[in-house]
């Protein structure tokens, strides 16, 4: 495995050689491009590329004059040092699980749902509205809020979904642009119709009376719900007829049509599920953590969800470790702020991790020429 890593760097040297013409006449050993990466090389390349990105970030950090080791220790301390730290980590991890799951679900059928941020806010808006206008026992109210959040998220993705399924309009742009619209909508609502009359300082809605009960002190049951949903979705994809059809449609749309599957219908269904999950994440954040609607309750959760899905390779179960990694990175951002460094540096680092993972995935396709069998 280590061999293939070393060899794949040499292959890229050869690409660079091709690019610059015949600068280097030295022969490199022969490297082969495989039609598909093996499972283990893929996993290892992913882990190695994440590590490389983090190390690179650490080097840059040190070069800027900061103490990287102390930073790492502080992050570990803040995350795992005590129960509160763990709970705070869980509060960041929980929404990432769902937004990551949302993006991964879409990716399974080959769709890019970049609108997680907007669907998150749509769900938050709907959940807040229901929470403020419904009188019912807590359990019922929370259930209604959850349904509202899911439906709102699905509604927010509806137009891009229809455009993609029926008009072949690229969903990347349409889902993404709606993010900006959602943020503006939240601003409008929080400074206007849904504004809390009692609070003159910040633009936020009134306090939502229904709260998700706590699992531990700060960490609420929403976390458990998110984890359960991950397993539910994994089961859906692996053990249901619907899941089989979605997987085939994602692997080769033409083959799915040839086999008699209704691909358009599956596209829409997956889109709506994806939007709904992101909307649900918004509801959980409002009902469990923030307890009101205001701008900025999403700490880029939607966008980071895409990263989670990419790192998880569109596999639902892998969303759990991938979202955990990104939660740690976000935690690092908070610690960085106490160092006087902009919290955006962490965003830059996450971008680098994604780039590194994309490149690493490519490198997993290469392998040193093994013992060759002669043709036929």
């Amino acid at each position: 495995m280590a061999k293939s890593w070393a060899s794949s760097w040499a292959v890229n040297l050869r690409n660079i050689q091709k690019f610059f013409g015949s600068f280097f006449q030295k022969r490199t050993a022969s490297f082969l491009l495989l039609p598909a990466p093996g499972r283990w090389p893929l996993l290892i390349s992913r882990l190695l590329s994440i590590a490389t990105a983090l190390i690179f970030g650490g080097i840059v950090f040190t070069l800027c004059g900061y103490d990287t080791v102390r930073l790492a220790v502080d992050v570990a301390q803040a995350s795992f040092g005590d129960l509160f730290g763990l709970e705070d980590l869980g509060l960041i991890w929980s929404p990432l699980i769902l937004t990551g799951l949302a993006a991964a679900v879409a990716l399974r059928i080959g769709l890019w749902n970049i609108g997680g941020e907007g669907q998150f806010y749509a769900g938050a808006i709907a959940a807040t509205w229901v929470g403020l206008h419904v009188q019912a026992p807590a359990g019922i109210a929370l259930l209604l809020m959850a349904v509202a959040g899911f439906v709102a998220g699905a509604a927010w993705i509806l137009v891009p979904a229809l455009a993609r399924a029926w008009l072949a309009v690229d969903e990347i742009i349409t889902t993404l642009l709606l993010n900006f619209v959602a943020v503006l909508l939240v601003t409008y609502l929080c400074t206007g119709p849904m504004r809390d009359p009692a609070n003159a300082v910040t633009a936020a809605s009134a306090h939502v009376p229904y709260e998700i009960p706590p699992l531990l002190d700060d960490l609420h049951w929403g976390f458990a719900v998110s984890v359960v949903l991950v397993f539910a979705v994994a089961l859906l994809f692996g053990r249901s007829v619907w899941g089989y059809e979605v997987r085939v449609a994602g692997a080769n749309r033409h083959a799915a049509e040839y086999a008699g599957m209704r691909v358009r219908r599956r596209l829409m269904q997956v889109f709506l599920l994806s939007g709904g999950l992101a909307g649900l994440a918004g509801m959980l954040e409002v009902a469990g953590t923030v307890h009101r609607l205001e701008g900025g309750i999403s700490n880029n959760f939607g966008y980071l969800g895409i990263m989670v899905a990419a790192l998880a390779g569109a596999s639902p179960l892998a969303v759990l470790p991938a979202s955990f990694l990104l939660a740690l990175l976000l935690n690092a951002g908070i610690v960085l702020q106490s160092y006087g460094v902009s919290k955006y540096a962490v965003l830059a680092l996450t971008g680098l991790v994604l780039l590194s993972a994309a490149v690493g995935e490519r490198l997993a396709y290469y392998r040193l020429a093994p013992k060759l069998a002669s043709a036929r």
């Binding site: 491009l33 039609p35 598909a36 997987r247 083959a255 008699g260 020429a369 043709a375």
Partner: protein
């Protein structure tokens, strides 16, 4: 060749090329003289195209040398090969379909001026076409041209680059017999003018008619180089395959018509670009017969198979399965017992990144025991997959490996057996033997005959006339979306079919 002769126009010495786990060319020698037509003969997968890709700089050889006019050369790119006077007309044309003929001619050409407008390019192209005696329309968009015209554009492009070595890869595969004759006449003229021509083919009769010398490749190695005058078909076939090939005799018995299982009544259909592809087609497949569709590829056969399997709607007319009028719904056709071995298995028939097992159950996944309500049983799926894999004689250590790891022959057998299971009425087989070696071809034809003998109707689309005449009961010839004629195979012969394929009513 003695030392007194001038050096060969092209000499490949011990050229080797490897891909993942396969040696495509194994120390191959080739010598081509100026003024001769040299045929490169071999089955599918023998390494002919790979060797030529090495010669034209698209692939880098892993071993061996290339000599042009006696000087050793190394081509790091196609541009260098073109500059050295090597021109190739590919089997799948390397033309930009969205560009006009003139733009294609001027693409990547050293003599294109830096600033050039469309009228300028078209005028220059017209001049070149006249110079080389090729009939092309400079302003036409390549995507709209027929295969013969596109090939003429490719040839014009290579000749205008000053090619003195002209390589043609299976050039007659997309031509009617008339167009082939024109091509061969042109090739003889170019050779007489001093060019060296390399003609790749797997058709024995063509090779003997056209070439001066023949080199035979088998399994990546060169097995012989002979003068065409010194050999005959059986000898060449023997060299190509490596053992004696018994002459293939007719294998179909007298045919008694069963009932009609699948028919087209006055069907017209459009292709993906909205142009008419099928025109008023009447066709009927009977139970227990093999109906072959002969014709040069691109005359509507793809749209025909798509209409017959519900993948394409008919703009006019009706498709009837067992007498019932069918809508364009692949699921309905599947439920009605229509199996489909698609023309392009990697695009339509398989999901290359999914496992072999997942692909094997793709047509039966909705039926019990695999599906109980919404639940999909992995265990039952694995069992079914195992049965299909065993029937197809595909040896896989792990059925959960991606199906694209399998060889072409294995993939095709897998698809075939999968479809044979669901084809309770009709099996539509589109070019099932394309791209396979002789062993795999034999297996596929055996499957087809097996289906016929068990009372299933088979529609076989093929571009290999020999194959068609060998196993079919009836033959329908397709040209420009129309059925030119249908008759029992006893009444058919190569010449008659060739005329119909070329659009001329007999």
């Amino acid at each position: 060749m003695t030392d007194a002769d001038p050096p060969c126009a092209v000499r490949l010495a011990s050229v080797t090329k490897r891909f993942a786990g396969v040696i495509a060319n194994d120390a191959v020698d080739l010598e081509v003289r100026a003024g001769e037509i040299h045929a490169l003969l071999g089955e599918n997968g023998a390494g002919k195209s790979t060797l030529m890709n090495v010669l034209t700089g698209i692939y880098q050889p892993d071993g061996g040398q290339i000599f042009i006019d006696g000087r050793e050369v190394r081509f790091a790119s196609a541009a260098q090969a073109i500059a050295a006077g090597i021109g190739m007309v590919h089997q799948h044309f390397k033309l930009i379909r969205a560009f006009t003929v003139a733009e294609n001619i001027h693409l990547g050409w050293a003599e294109t001026p830096v600033r050039v407008s469309r009228p300028q390019m078209e005028a220059r192209t017209r001049a070149l076409a006249e110079k080389f005696g090729l009939d092309v329309r400079p302003g036409a968009v390549v995507g709209d041209l027929s295969a013969g015209e596109q090939q003429r554009v490719e040839i014009l492009r290579t000749l205008s680059r000053g090619a003195r070595v002209l390589i043609l890869d299976e050039p007659t595969a997309v031509l009617t017999p008339d167009e082939s004759a024109v091509l061969i006449r042109n090739l003889r003229a170019y050779a007489a003018a001093g060019a060296a021509i390399i003609f790749i083919s797997h058709k024995l009769d063509e090779v003997l008619a056209v070439a001066d010398r023949i080199t035979v490749l088998r399994a990546g190695r060169r097995v012989a180089s002979l003068l065409a005058a010194d050999c005959d078909e059986p000898e060449l076939a023997n060299l190509m395959v490596g053992h004696d090939v018994a002459p293939r005799g007719r294998q179909s018995q007298g045919w008694t018509p069963g009932r009609v299982v699948l028919e087209l009544c006055g069907v017209s259909a459009r292709n993906d670009r909205g142009l008419p592809a099928l025109r008023n087609v009447d066709l009927a497949v009977h139970a227990g017969e093999i109906l072959a569709i002969a014709g040069v590829a691109g005359n509507g056969q793809r749209e025909l198979t798509e209409v017959l399997t519900g993948m394409r709607p008919a703009s006019q007319g009706q498709v009837r399965l067992d007498g019932r009028v069918m809508r364009a719904d692949p699921a309905a056709f599947l439920a009605g017992g229509v199996g489909h071995i698609p023309q392009d298995r990697l695009k339509n028939g398989l999901a290359p990144s999914m496992s072999i097992a997942d692909n094997a159950v793709m047509r039966e996944y909705r039926r019990p025991p695999l599906a109980r309500g919404p639940v999909f049983s992995r265990v039952a799926a694995a069992a079914l997959a195992g049965r299909i894999i065993a029937d197809a004689h595909v040896a896989v250590p792990n059925m959960h490996a991606p199906v694209r790891n399998l060889s072409g022959g294995n993939q095709q057998r897998l698809v075939a057996r999968r479809e044979m299971r669901v084809a309770s009425r009709v099996l539509i087989a589109a070019y099932p033997t394309r791209g396979l070696d002789i062993g795999a071809i034999g297996t596929m034809l055996r499957y087809v005959i097996e289906m016929r003998n068990s009372g299933i109707g088979v529609l076989l689309v093929s571009e290999d006339l020999e194959e068609v005449l060998q196993i079919a009961d009836r033959v329908a010839v397709f040209f420009a979306g129309r059925v030119m004629g249908i008759f029992p195979t006893e009444d058919a012969d190569g010449e008659k079919l060739g005329l119909l394929m070329g659009g001329q009513l007999a």
